[in-house]
């Protein structure tokens, strides 16, 4: 299944490059969400993110010839998206400074999660709650940029470590370290909103309950 997708994809790329440019629409269709969410989580603004997503896809079209097929097409797209988001973020940087103080990356992982004993699981109803999703997006937005980038690609987009490393131009070890920090910071930021929830059964969610 996956191999077939990849084959179709390289065939599609070949045909676009050979002149069937309309097929570019089909080529990027599976990645529309990936590109938008990646950028949104960095820029935190819908309009800006949509604009940047459009730029990303146009830029991918114009530079398709430089895609060599060494990376996956999706990773290549994410790299372009990330660069577009970073560029815009830098431009807007002087505006608001709302990052947490960045912990140092060396050392032995000196952090403390929020300790809690009065609840164990978020009940399914709570996962449905809009406010909790809002709080999560806010918390992600508060992460320092380098942690946010890794978290977005690994835990929102579910790219693997190697793909994430490739898209960000960092090594896998750094991906692991930053992801861990990001998750622990989020845990700390979000625990106040989760407290007091009654225990409930765990469910059917993708990769966490296999």
């Amino acid at each position: 299944m996956k191999a077939a997708t990849v084959t179709n994809e390289s065939a599609l790329i070949g045909r676009v490059l050979a002149g069937e440019t309309e097929l570019f629409h089909e080529l990027i269709r599976p990645y529309e969400r990936l590109v938008y969410v990646t950028i949104f989580a960095i820029l935190k603004n819908e309009t800006e993110a949509e604009d940047a997503a459009q730029e990303t896809m146009i830029s991918a079209y114009r530079n398709l010839r430089s895609f060599r097929g060494e990376a996956k097409f999706s990773t290549w797209l994410v790299t372009i998206a990330m660069n577009e988001a970073r560029k815009r973020l830098r431009k807007a940087k002087s505006a608001a400074e709302n990052s947490l103080t960045e912990p140092t990356e060396d050392g032995d992982g000196d952090f403390t999660p929020a300790v809690l004993t009065d609840w164990r699981e978020i009940p399914l109803e709570a996962l449905e709650r809009k406010e909790l999703k809002d709080k999560l997006r806010e918390a992600v937005a508060m992460l320092p940029e380098k942690y946010r980038e890794v978290f977005v690609l690994r835990d929102i987009e579910e790219l693997n470590q190697e793909e994430t490393a490739a898209a960000l131009g960092i090594n896998v070890t750094l991906v692991k370290v930053r992801l861990h920090r990001a998750r622990m910071m989020l845990q700390k930021l979000l625990v106040p909103y989760l407290k007091g929830q009654a225990p409930a059964r765990t469910g059917f969610f993708r990769r966490w309950f296999q």
Binding site: F40, Q54, L116, E121, I156
Partner: protein
Amino acid sequence: MKLDCKHVWEHISGYLDKQLDPELLAAVERHLENCEICSAVLDSTRNILILTADDRTYELPVGYSERLHEKLALAIAKAPDMGG
């Protein structure tokens, strides 16, 4: 191998990603069985990740796809030969 809470916290991510080597995994699991605090930290972190991966947490703006393809069509019309 005996771990204290602080060490277990360092491996929460590796545990969730199933990346701990067998010896460390066994030690972490032994600790978790007997430690409410670490179990709660693990569960809360895992729940945050479940919520994160839920497609409804990050939603696309209405009409995003249509507008994207309109813009693309314009760009393609402007550069139809891919420089080749």
